[in-house]
């Protein structure tokens, strides 16, 4: 028999313990010791899957049983942000800039979520009319990002002073997010799909994710759920609502400058998409049917049906006089799921509240006006905070709002600002050694302002 290294020998022993049913207590201690050497050390690579003990699921009485097993701890961090969309990006950068150890996991290979991967390019309601003036309400992390995009070509259009609702280039946005995330010192892991949570009583202590490197755990003092779909708070058992919404799929077409709009309109092809920084390219929205964005069968059906509809539509444009040169440039890699789960927060912000002048003692962000003409609406901290669960915040499109206000809250602008607020709050909770629920609001607002956020 070929002698095993000590480590492998230990693992084998461990495996034996576990499969003998004696394992959990001893096993988890050992695994934690083994992989736990990673604690605080960012450069540490996880043990390859092959070298780890195996605990395959098995059938018992026709049921698939997942054996109890210890999980390798991939990282231990202060703030863990799950989901790198607009909200998660802003949260991670804010927390890291506030000086706490921050980690971000993202199931895909790029940042930006629906903004970049869903090809939803226009950042609506970046501004509002405050005290009679068109005022940018998306500042801080989101503002920094757009400022940087304005310095590259092609980066962002309609971002000059006096304008609002800019449109950014998806590749430039992804690139710039990468830059800002690494610059801020966020420990980022792509291709990690969070699947479960680690609980200690009523408090979330981390998440479990699946990856090419197997199923592993990340321990954290505060977790921010910016998966957009509330995957994390749902797994943690936090009270939430589930809504249906139209699910679409965006695509982009090229050579739009060469079309004869009138001829196409006559053929019933009116929607030629919205402008982008790239010349002659348009992104075309698709509304789609209202359905459940958490249902695999629906998601699969819609991917196929929408892609077919897009294909046929572009073919139709090409077959119509005046549209021959148009080509299908891209179908968004991410399906356009607008709303699924919404957290039941300590404050459900209503459309009515947002349309009347008011202030909240715990305002942490200002929502913009879609047309820039109306006053901004204050967003209270309570929309990010679960009713009972501790150690967790949400932000972005899963924030706690009523059915009508979803349409404003899910806009990229509000995702950026609420993400920023959640990141700062999480950092403060870590620093003050308290739960997000007990964060000192005055301190939080001061930190947000220090980071450039606009609070009215």
């Amino acid at each position: 028999m070929i002698p095993l290294s000590h480590a492998v020998a230990r693992r084998k022993l461990l495996q034996w313990f576990a499969s003998a049913g004696l394992g959990p207590a001893i096993g988890s201690k050992l695994v934690a010791d083994e992989v736990g050497a990673a604690k605080g050390a960012r450069e540490l690579q996880p043990t390859p899957v092959e070298d780890r003990p195996h605990y395959p699921a098995f059938l018992r009485d026709g049921q698939v049983i997942q054996p109890e097993r210890p999980l390798p701890v991939f990282r231990e961090t202060d703030v863990l942000v799950v989901g790198g969309g607009a909200a998660g990006f802003a949260a991670a950068v804010s927390a890291a800039r506030a000086g706490v150890k921050t980690m971000l996991v993202e199931r895909y290979g790029y940042l930006g979520g629906l903004w970049t991967g869903g090809i939803v390019l226009v950042v609506i309601s970046t501004h509002a009319t405050q005290n009679g003036d068109l005022t940018q309400v998306v500042r801080g992390i989101g503002g920094d990002l757009m400022d940087r995009l304005a310095k590259v070509q092609p980066g962002i259009v309609n971002y000059e002073p006096g304008k609002h609702n800019p449109t950014s280039d998806p590749e430039a946005t992804k690139f710039m997010m990468d830059q800002m995330i690494t610059e801020a010192g966020v420990d980022i892991a792509f291709h990690c799909w969070a699947t479960d949570v680690i609980m200690e009583g009523n408090t979330i202590r981390g998440v479990v994710f699946d990856s090419k490197a197997g199923r592993q755990a990340i321990l954290a003092k505060v977790v921010i759920d910016t998966t957009g779909d509330g995957d994390i708070f749902a797994a943690a058992g936090a009270e939430h609502e589930q809504r249906l919404h139209a699910i679409g799929l965006v695509h982009r077409i090229g050579n739009v400058d060469r079309v004869d709009k009138d001829k196409l309109a006559q053929a019933g092809l009116k929607q030629m998409g919205s402008i982008e920084p790239l010349p002659s390219v348009r992104w075309v929205n698709l509304r789609g049917p209202s359905t459940n964005g958490l249902d695999i069968a629906e998601l699969t059906r819609l991917e196929i049906e929408h892609r077919k509809a897009i294909w046929e539509r572009v073919q139709k444009i090409r077959a119509t006089p005046g549209g021959e040169d148009v080509y299908l440039m891209q179908v968004a890699p991410q399906l356009g799921v607008r709303t699924t789960r919404l957290l039941a927060g300590t404050h459900q912000l209503t459309y009515q509240e947002s349309r009347e002048p008011r202030t909240f003692p715990d305002t942490v962000a200002i929502g913009g006006a879609q047309n820039g003409k109306h006053a901004g609406w204050p967003i209270p901290y309570g929309v990010l905070l679960p009713k009972k669960l501790d150690g967790l915040l949400t932000a972005g499109r899963s924030s706690c709002v009523d059915e009508k206000l979803v349409e404003d809250m899910r806009l990229i602008a509000s995702c950026l600002t609420t993400g920023h607020a959640a990141g700062a709050a999480a950092a403060l909770a870590v620093k003050d050694n308290c739960t997000p629920r007990d964060v000192d609001i005055a301190k939080l607002q001061a930190l947000l302002k220090e980071q450039g956020a606009y609070l009215g």
Binding site: V120, N285, L286, G288, A309, N371
Partner: protein
Amino acid sequence: MSRWVSLIVIAALVSPWLRSVLPVAAVSPFVALVSAVAARSVGIITLIGLPMLILAVLVPRVFCRFVCPVGFLQEMAARLRLPGRARWRSWPRVGRWFLWLTIGGALAGYPLFVWLDPLALFTGFFSAFRLPTTIATIGAGALLPLAMLLDVLFPGAWCKRMCPLGALQEALAIAKQSLANRTRATDESLFSCPHSPVIPTSSPFALARRPLIASLVGGAGALLARHTAAKPPPLRPPGSLPEDQFTGVCIRCSGCIRVCPSRILKPDLGQHGLAGLLAPVADFDTAYCKEDCNACGQVCPSGAIQRLSLAEKKRSIMGIAKVELSRCWLAEGRDCTACIRSCPYEALSVSSDGFDSHPALDASKCIGCGACEAACPARPERAIRVFSNNLTG
């Protein structure tokens, strides 16, 4: 010395009204009578003015003497009288003509000169301070000072010669007198008050001839005015009379404009023709007609805006929304549902065949409150706007 006293009294009388929105003009029997005739209905607010009408039959010029603030102001102003000759006796009695033209007009649905009612002038003056300063509003606000100035220069010229409300009371007195004449001799003592009219003692037919002619002219004028009503009509407050009557019955007191909490009512500055000048028009630029408000109808003294209960108001149609797809964000492919969400009556929904989406209107639910128009983000022109459909003329 007495001049100063007069000035102080005038100031004391005037100042409380600067902020009030009470339907003061409802007390005027002239307003009550002609607006009830024009609208062919008697509302609660009419019932305030009618007793005064009955009283005016019993006591000559009772309104002028005991109620009319303009009359009182005139008296005070008269004390400011500058030395010189009073020449009011040579002024024509145009008030009678205003009266009969207006009554004739009211019979034809359009009381031509109701806005010359002294209480309308009175409230119009105070409204002018609360409205945007334009030539039209200054003009409306200037009528009361003008009338007073006239009386300072020519004592009694307004009250005794031009005021249609004065003429109404006079006419009632004459009618009563001529009835009495048939049965007994003239009792001069009845008219002992200083304002007493000069009572001609001719036959009833002769008495009625001029009013008849004036009324006929007024009726013809009314028909003409109704015929020329703005088309399409401007958006009026909820519960407004049909457009071809509204501009006639509205006395331009601006009470509705001032009381509207959403500030959507604005004085018409001539955008819709002369007939509508200074009447309230609804403008949904920044706000809409709230579903839980019926304030404008409550303060309207003439019934041009009917008093509606909140339940009635929610069914009262001001207009109807219309979408212009070429400007609509949703139709352009943005995820905009601003109008749909804003609609308090759930009259709008998303209609989509995938790539082409647009707001769809359920016309049976839309009352034209303007919430969608106020919410629409499209600029410079909005994609959804409310158009009046309250046209009947």
